[in-house]
Structure formats: C-alpha cells, structure tokens
C-alpha cells in the first residue's frame, strides 16, 4: 500500500539506525506519547534495535487504557438498560469494569453494537426510534472531531434518541503533568502524529521551550518512529529543544482548522481523571452546555458512580515512563490481557499488553535482544 509499505522498509530502517548510532554519545530517555506508537515499537522491537544509551519509555497515549474505571462502570450501567442500544468502538468492549466487561453485558442480553465510525450511531438511532442509542465517545484529539460530528449532526437532523457518554482526553496537559513530576525521567518526546494532524503542533511549542524538551512529531510506521527518534537524538546531542516535524506528509503546524472548529463548537475543556494516574487539570473534553441534551451522563443520571482501582497495579508509573511493564511482579502472572489488573494491560495498545502480546513476559527482556 502506498504511503505504508515504504515506511516498513527494512533497508530504510537500517539507514536511520546507522545515523542514530553515529549521532548518539550519551544516554537519553525518550518517550513515545501514543499507544499506537508503543504498539509498533514493541511489535518491530525498535526499542531493542536503537543503540544502548537510548531508552524508549512508553507514554500515556492509549485512550482505551486511561478511560477511568468509573466511566466503564457508567457505560455498563447504561448499556444494561433494556431501552438502550449501546454503541462503542471495538477496543472498549473487553475493558473490564468492576463487574465484567461489555462482552459479558452483551452475553447477558444487553444490546451492544461495535461501530467503525460514530456516524453509524445516527443510522442506528434513525432505524430504532423506540430505543435510546448511546455512543461511548472516547479518544484523544484525533477522534474528537469524528465524535463531535456525530453529536452535531444529531442536533442538526433533530435526532432526539441519540446521546454520547463522553470521556475524551487531551495530550498536551498529560505530557505537561509528566514533565512537572519531580521523578520525571523523560528528556524528549516522539509527538503524537495523528493528534497533531488534527490539532497542529503550535500548542507543543511553549511546552518544548518551557521544559527544554525536544518534541519530534512522529508517525506510526517503523521508519517514521526511527526518524522521529533520530530527530529527538540530534536535538538532545546539540542542546536544542524545539518542536520538529519529521511527519510532514500528514501534519502541518496549524493542523486541520475545520476539525478544530467542530471540536470547540461541540466540546469544552474540562478536568479529567486518567485511569492509573488520577485527575489532570484541563486534560479532557466534555459536551458544552449547548449540547447538554445529548449528554448520556446527564440523561441516565450515572454521574454519581464512583469506583476504586486495584492497589497492586503499577500502571500509573508505567504511563509516566517511570517503570517498564516487566518491573511489575504481577506482569504476565496475575495480570494478563485475559485478566488485566490495570490500565496498561486492558488494551492492545497499552504498554503491558504490547509487551505481553510480543512475548516479553517469557524471557528476561533487555539482555536477550540486545546481546
């Protein structure tokens, strides 16, 4: 496939690795922000291929992982109602709440449907006028315009039996919170390519300047990830800290203005709780007042549901780049993708699940592959 295959080319990857090897002189800790990037890095073993002094740590950018447990419980409470058709992206179905997951709710009779695009929910709502159709609107800024469009179209087309359970998150406050942590180890970021395709990268420029961290806007294929790493390493070695855009084929500085307009029309910025991390100020979107009639939390009165996380899990430290999945005694034993204890194991894009799925619970990780 054009614009995909050439970025999986082994020779190209080897060239960039050679250049990284020639450039690096000191140990550096670089965090990839996005869960999709984590998945690619572990899948292709890029963290083993980069020269030893570079450590890649995995960031908080998996929206499925960071959706708080209480929001999952609210989803389950709504989905179990007999008058509801509950729609969700497929990845959310196997995320366990306090009592089972959405697959289990479905097995017990709930009408739960997987959608590829949020616009499908509007079709379902029109076809089922006697039912309330609820969409689980999660995601980062990449997904926010699509979800906003569904709400906007529902209002424009007067579709009254549609609502959204919104748990949107935003990247810049999350990386700021990592940088502000006294224990922070991260010295540069591989910026989230598709979040920036929507938002542009202007809002990352003050972060790079204030915290003196290079940010390289990075794509999701192995060649993209190595190119981003090379850009970050060059800046670190030269003592620069700028936002650089090696992913220019998909990202511009201003991003997609039309999509941003729709986000600010439908959503407003709010504080948001992140699973494994806690509340990060201004790190989420919720429906703005004008769209309150489409707010499932309000309609179904589930806002009071509160839940506690299991205390053994170290996912909070993994999400901040302080620990690796195999630092956890429960990793691969008590905690597996089938029986996840916390955020980073619940989705295939979570760091723990990626490590597990690519067999890293089977061997003492680093020593083997680097040898």
């Amino acid at each position: 496939m054009k614009y995909l295959d050439e970025y999986r080319d082994q020779r190209m990857a080897a060239r960039i690795l050679g250049e990284i090897r020639r450039t690096v002189t000191k140990p550096w800790v670089i965090m990839e922000v996005c869960g999709g990037q984590t998945h690619s890095i572990v899948k292709y073993g890029l963290d083993y291929l980069v020269p030893e002094p570079i450590e890649l740590v995995h960031g908080p950018g998996c929206p499925v992982c960071v959706t708080p447990l209480e929001m999952i419980d609210r989803a389950h409470a709504i989905a179990r109602r007999p008058d509801v058709i509950f729609c969700s992206f497929g990845d959310m179905l196997r995320v366990p709440g306090s009592r089972g997951d959405l697959f289990q709710c479905r097995a017990e009779g709930a009408d739960i449907r997987i959608v590829y695009s949020p616009l499908e929910c509007l079709k379902i709502a029109r076809a089922n006028p006697g039912k309330k159709v609820v969409f689980f609107a999660i995601g980062f800024e990449t997904t926010a315009p699509a979800n906003a469009m569904a709400v906007w179209q529902a209002q424009t087309q007067c579709i009254r039996n549609f609502s959204a359970l919104v748990s949107h998150v935003r990247v810049p406050p999350s990386i700021t919170s990592i940088l502000q942590s006294p224990a922070n180890r991260v010295q540069a970021f591989l910026g989230p390519g598709h979040v920036c395709a929507v938002m542009g990268y202007r809002e990352y420029e003050p972060i790079a300047a204030r915290y003196r961290v290079p940010i390289a806007i990075t794509g999701f294929e192995p060649v993209d990830l190595l190119e981003g790493t090379l850009a970050a390493v060059r800046q670190l070695e030269q003592g620069r800290y700028e936002v650089e855009n090696p992913y220019a084929r998909a990202v511009t500085r201003d991003g997609n203005i039309e999509a941003q307009k729709m986000i600010s029309r439908v959503f407003q910025i709010c504080d948001r709780s992140w699973r494994g991390i806690g509340i990060i100020p201004k790190s989420g979107y919720r429906l703005s007042y004008e769209f309150r009639d489409y707010d499932a939390e309000r309609i179904f009165e589930v806002e009071s549901i509160r839940t506690q996380e299991p205390p053994v899990c170290i996912s909070g430290q993994v999400l901040k780049g302080l620990k690796k999945p195999n630092d956890c005694p429960a990793f691969g034993t008590q905690c597996t993708p089938q029986t996840p204890l916390g955020a980073t194991m619940v989705s295939a894009e979570g760091a723990c699940a990626a490590y597990y799925n690519y067999g890293r619970h089977l061997t003492p990780a680093n020593s083997m592959a680097r040898a």
Partner: protein
C-alpha cells in the same frame, strides 16, 4: 486507537447532507467523511481515522523526506569508502 490509514479517494458524493468519499486502501474500499477536508479531490491520498479523513497526504513532503532518507545511505557509503568501513546492518 489513534491509528489513521492512508488511502486514495476514488469517488465523492453527498449522503444526507454530509460530504462522503469512497477511499481505496490497497484494494479495500471504505466510506470516509470528507467534511473536515473540503478541498480534497478524487485522486488525493488522505489519512482516515474512524471513518473521517483528517488530513491530506502531502505528496511533495513525502517525496522530499524519502529522498532525504535515501541520501543518508549515500552519505554513509561515502563515509565508508573514505574510512574503509561502515555500520553493521541490524
């Protein structure tokens, strides 16, 4: 979750007041909403996420980056010729 896949627009039509495109992903055709890329035309490559085209693939930028990455290799070969050695390929 934030994955966006590049595909080529093969057809554009209105559907219920929304601008939609048929997008070809290496032989698999899917619908994508074009509301956020009003300037996109048939033949353009776009990045599609959850059924929405979120950005146009800038073909010039892609070619420029690719060219630059290939030059890395030529530079390396040049250096290897001068020093009599090169980097190992992993």
């Amino acid at each position: 979750m934030c994955l966006a896949i590049p595909g080529k627009i093969t057809d554009i039509q209105e559907s219920g007041g929304i601008r939609m495109a048929k997008v070809d992903f290496g032989g698999v055709i899917r619908q994508a909403c074009l509301e956020y890329l009003p300037e996109a035309a048939v033949g353009n490559y776009v990045m599609v996420h959850v059924g929405f085209a979120i950005s146009k693939v800038d073909e010039e930028e892609a070619a420029r980056t690719y060219h630059y990455l290939q030059e890395l290799d030529q530079l390396r070969e040049l250096q290897a010729a001068e020093t009599g050695g090169g980097d190992e390929i992993p």
